[in-house]
Every structure is written in C-alpha cells, then in structure tokens.
Assembly symmetry: C2
Homo-oligomer: 351 residues x 2
C-alpha cells in the first residue's frame, strides 16, 4: 500500500502530471452540486476537460445507497473498465462515497481524491476509509481502500463558510495534540480565519502527515489508529444528542468540545498539564463557543458513549494524553469519572 | 494476507475448531433456500446452532443489490459489529454475495466460506473475489477480500445433480492443465461421477491448491492470475450466446467446451501436443456433449470475445498452453485464427 500525497495550490498542474503517468481509458470526475458549480470550472486541467462528470447531491443526507447506485450507473454509462480512473472532487461525502464506488466497481478501480473542504483535506481524504450511511447509521457500509493519489490544497477554501473552516480546524488541532507540544502551540496561536492559502497549506501539510503516519502503522484500525479517535468519544455523544434534539451541530465543533472534555479526563487520570488544558479550553471557547449541557443531560450522554460504535464491549473508551504527543489509546472510563469531567467541562466553558 | 484452507469432511468439527479461536460477539450464517433446508441441518456445529440465520434466494438471478441490502439489514438486526463473524454456507452465489456483504459491513468483518458445490469449492470460495451482478452484468460490483478460513469438503456433493458436479469438474480440469501433465491425465482417467467423497476430496485438494498458488502470486489479477482465465474467453462467449438465445448453459459446461477450442488455438500457435488435445476433446464430448455452433454463429461469437470484460483493449485475449503446466497468458488472437479454431472445435465435437 502506498499513497501519493501532493500538497500544492497548483491543482490542475498536479492532476495533469499524475494523469499523464496513468494509461487510463476513461476518466470520470465525481462532484456534488456545489463543487460542480464552484470548483470544477476553476480546475483548468487538460485531462479533466475530457472527463465524464457525475454529479451527486450535496450534504450528508445524500451519502446513501441510492446515490452510490447512481454513481455506479454513471461509471457504466461512460464505459469505465478496470483501466479507468475516478477523480473525487469535493468534501467528505464525495471522497467517501466516490471512493467506495471506485473501490467496488469491477472489484476496484483507481481513484484520486481532491478534497475541497478543510475537514475532508485533513480527515476524510487520507487513510482509506470509504463508505456510505445505511439505515440511519453513519458510514455503516464501506471498505478500506486508499486513493492512489491525494491532491491537498487550500485554494478552494475561499468557497467555504467560517463555520466550515472551523470544523476542519478542530481536526487539525487534534492532530497537533497527538503530534507534539510545539505543533499544538503553533495551532493555538494561529489566526486561521485570516490565514492566506499558502500559510494554511503548510500547517495543513504537517497535520495530514501526522494522520498519515498513524494510518500507515495501522491501516485497519486494530491498534494505534484509535489514537485518531481523540476527542471523538465525547464529541460523538454531543453530536448525536444535538441531532436527536433536532439542533444538529457540525462535526468539527463537536470534536473541539470533545477535546476539551477528554483533556479534562487526561488531566484527572494522566496529569495532562493544566496549563495546556486551559489554553485549549480558552481557544475553543473563543472560536467555537460552548455546547450547553446541564447535569440533567449526563445520563443521556453516558448512554450514547456506551453505545459508540468504536466501543467493543459497551464500556466507555477514550484515547487520552499524558501530554501533547504522549498518546494513550484505549482507556476505559468509569461513569463517575466521566460525570466529573463533564462538570469541569462546563466550568471551563463558562456554563 | 493469509487464508486458512481446511480440507475435511468433518465440517462441523473443523468449523467449531476455527470459531473456538475467534473472540466474536455475534455469528451470522448466510444460506440460500436450498442449503438452508438441505445442508444447514446436517452441520452439527455447536457454534452454528446459536447463529443468526440469513436466508437468500437460490440461483444467479438472486445475486443482486436487493439481496445484498437484505443481508446487510440482517447483519444490523442481529447486532453484528466489527467483532462479528459471517459464515457463508452455499454455492458461488452465497460465497460471492455473502463475502461482499461481510467485506463492506462496517468496512469489513471476518467471514468463513463453506462451499457446498464442487464449482464453488474449486473456484469461487478461494481467491478473494466477492461481488454481485449489476444491471445485467455479472460480478460487476464487488471487491477483493479473502475469507479468513475456507472449509472444503465433498460431503455435501450428494445433494447436487450430475450436471452440477460436471460443471465444477470442468474447473478442476482447467487447474489440472495449468498444473502438469500427470494431474491432467489423472483427471481424465477418473470416474468422478462415481467417486466417493474421500477420493474426490483428495483430487479437489490438489486442484484448489493450484488456484491458491496462482492467486497468492497475483491477488489483484494484474498478471499471472489471468492464467486462471484458461478456457474462459471462448467459454464466456458460448455462455453469453446461449443466454441471449434463451437457452442458458451451465458455466462449467461452457468452460469445458471453451477449453477444447482454446487448446486448438494452443496447438496451432504454440504446438500444444495433439495427443493431449484429442484426449481432452474426447473426454469433454463424452461427458459434456457438444455446444452446437455453425459458421453463421462466428461473427456473433467473435463480437462477444472482443467485448469480454477481461479484454483491456477490445482485442481477443486468451491464455494458451505450450503444454500442460507451460502457461502463456495474454495472447492476442486474430479473428482469422479464432475462426480456424472454431472450425476445428466443431470437427472434434462431431458437429
């Protein structure tokens, strides 16, 4: 397994260079309604100008078996064979669903990911997780198959809202904390909302390579890859609770708040430095606000954590840090410890 | 990648031994209407007696996305997680579709194949090809994922018709020819229709190991695995023509006749020994009869061969033999050479 990661804002040139080396017979590009309108015309690639365009609906609600079937049909219609190539140009829905379509068409054809959101660049486009939602369950059907090439850029980020940028930045924050203290500080001190494309690309590169290193060690998530779950046990519970309550929150926001709660746990259990915890909490509060919970919500949140799909045995399982870069996956957390952490999360978030 | 192949007629014992070592939390067994009725009750496995049974329709017409969706739903309903195991108990439809369902459920859970037909034992159950038909195209959607374990037996073959036995035996013949001259002769001299289960199991073991060796060298069919296509370029054309004409023929029969035609090509182009060609042709004629074609059918057959899905460029592509065991994949065959070969095929088949 080897995956070619290219960090550049010259996307068309990079794509043409890659495709020049591939003796493909058909090229299909998968976009959603937004990237088809806003991004595809901007990518002046010679190869792409002859590609068969397959457009899917935008948003997580379109990440379905029906959409997947339409993509398979689109590949049939353009005469794709095992020697064809798919380009996924979009956010996480396009790279996940398009990757799964390519991975299963004629038992697998090559695909190239060009993530157009910060979240998909930092998270979904690298690491080989593909899939769709099924029966209301996120990413329930899918497989592990890496894109042959990923072109990571920041030039499309101007098409995003500040909320979308922040959502992606939360995953970068997570990677920084998994990496080392310097990276963590650099991310906290950076005004990403006003960053130019080249500066952000440098930060993004470091962040993606952190993930890539972990995935390389454990492609199928049997061990160390669970480190990437940092912030997600509590984050997913917040996200699910918000969804059930009819007021969904963005994934990255949930992760940011989840990181705060899980660093409280890390402090209480593993002496994660108090100073870093407070810096993180302040940064998150300033940029993301707070997810409001009361003591009355604890039972529901604990219930959700016990049923998290990453939980093997019904126990609450968290990745913790003894310090930035000192990663301890697979901690079983008692209900009492989690309640205390949620209390302190509320204090730190001024709730 | 490593796959545990067990050759035994003590299927229940073998299955329990395997499952004793797996710390699974749910066990699902996928059967079709026939194997659910005839075979499942015969397998007195302790583990299997507690399994969740998922029954699908029998036959290639059921190898669809709808059936796949039902299997995914069945896995949801029994509470399967990444730590669950699927047992596929059936012929090629069950092992292909059940394997694909398992390979894509939560991005892949373990599955064990127990083929119940000779064809699936010798062909479909080993080698990691999973999939479903889509839009009338065979195995159009799928992926490469090996069963963790395959239990190969001959004790269920008594539930099969002679035609089903012959269909599987044609693939064994193919493996024998790919292997060496002794194996080829052994297969031609064997009265497989009256063989007992233990004797046939020995032959089957040799045959499966031939395939397994080739797959191990080239799991994703980029090179030498194409050797396994022996007999299939012409065979598929016969099969498709028969299907379009409303008189479908069994896959193995088509392969048997395809082997004869392709050994004619091998003789004409690579001096494959005439004696072996005649022995093969006689064996096939005696056991399978002939697939009747006339000169008027050649254009249609050539057309089908040019569009075979294994063809990369629209050329007719065959694996040929210079002798048994001397395999030469990737021969481009001219229309004229194919016409001559079909003429001689008709002579050999007394048409």
């Amino acid at each position: 397994m080897s995956q070619n990661l290219v960090f550049t804002n010259e996307v068309a040139t990079a794509l043409d260079t890659i495709l020049d080396t591939k003796a493909y017979n058909r090229l299909a590009v998968i976009v959603d309604e937004n990237t088809g309108r806003l991004v595809l015309p901007e990518v002046k690639s010679i190869h792409l100008s002859n590609a068969h365009v397959i457009t899917i609906g935008a948003g997580d609600a379109c990440k379905t078996l029906d959409t997947l079937t339409c993509v398979w049909e689109g590949l049939e219609q353009c005469g794709a064979t095992r020697k064809s190539v798919v380009v996924n140009l979009g956010g996480g829905v396009v790279t996940d669903l398009g990757g799964f379509a390519a991975a299963t068409f004629k038992r697998g054809i090559d695909f190239i990911n060009i993530p157009t959101t910060l979240l998909s660049a930092v998270d979904a486009a690298v690491g080989g997780k593909t899939g769709i939602n099924f029966k209301g369950l996120k990413n329930e059907i899918g497989c592990f198959k890496e894109a042959s090439d990923v072109i990571i850029s920041t030039c499309f980020l101007k098409t995003l809202s500040v909320e979308e940028l922040k959502s992606g930045y939360a995953e970068m924050l997570k990677h920084g904390m998994l990496s080392n203290h310097d990276e963590f500080k650099k991310l906290l001190n950076y005004d990403f909302k006003n960053a130019d494309a080249e500066q952000l690309l440098e930060l993004l590169k470091t962040s993606v390579l952190v993930k890539e290193g972990i995935v390389r060690e454990d492609p199928h998530e049997n061990g160390i890859r669970r480190a990437l779950n940092l912030g997600h046990t509590v984050g997913h519970a917040f996200e699910s609770k918000a969804l059930h309550g009819g007021k969904p929150i963005a994934h990255g926001y949930a992760v940011a708040w989840g990181l705060v709660a899980e660093m409280v746990l890390s402090h209480n259990i593993l002496k994660f430095p108090s100073e870093d915890l407070h810096h993180l909490a302040n940064f998150v509060y300033e940029n993301y606000g707070a997810y409001h919970i009361t003591c009355d919500d604890y039972d529901e949140l604990l219930q959700l954590m016990h049923h998290d799909k990453k939980s093997q045995s019904g126990e609450i399982n968290c990745t913790l840090l003894a310090a930035c870069g000192d990663v301890r996956p697979g901690h079983v957390i008692s209900d009492d410890d989690m309640r205390i952490a949620l209390d302190i999360y509320r204090d730190l978030m001024h709730i």
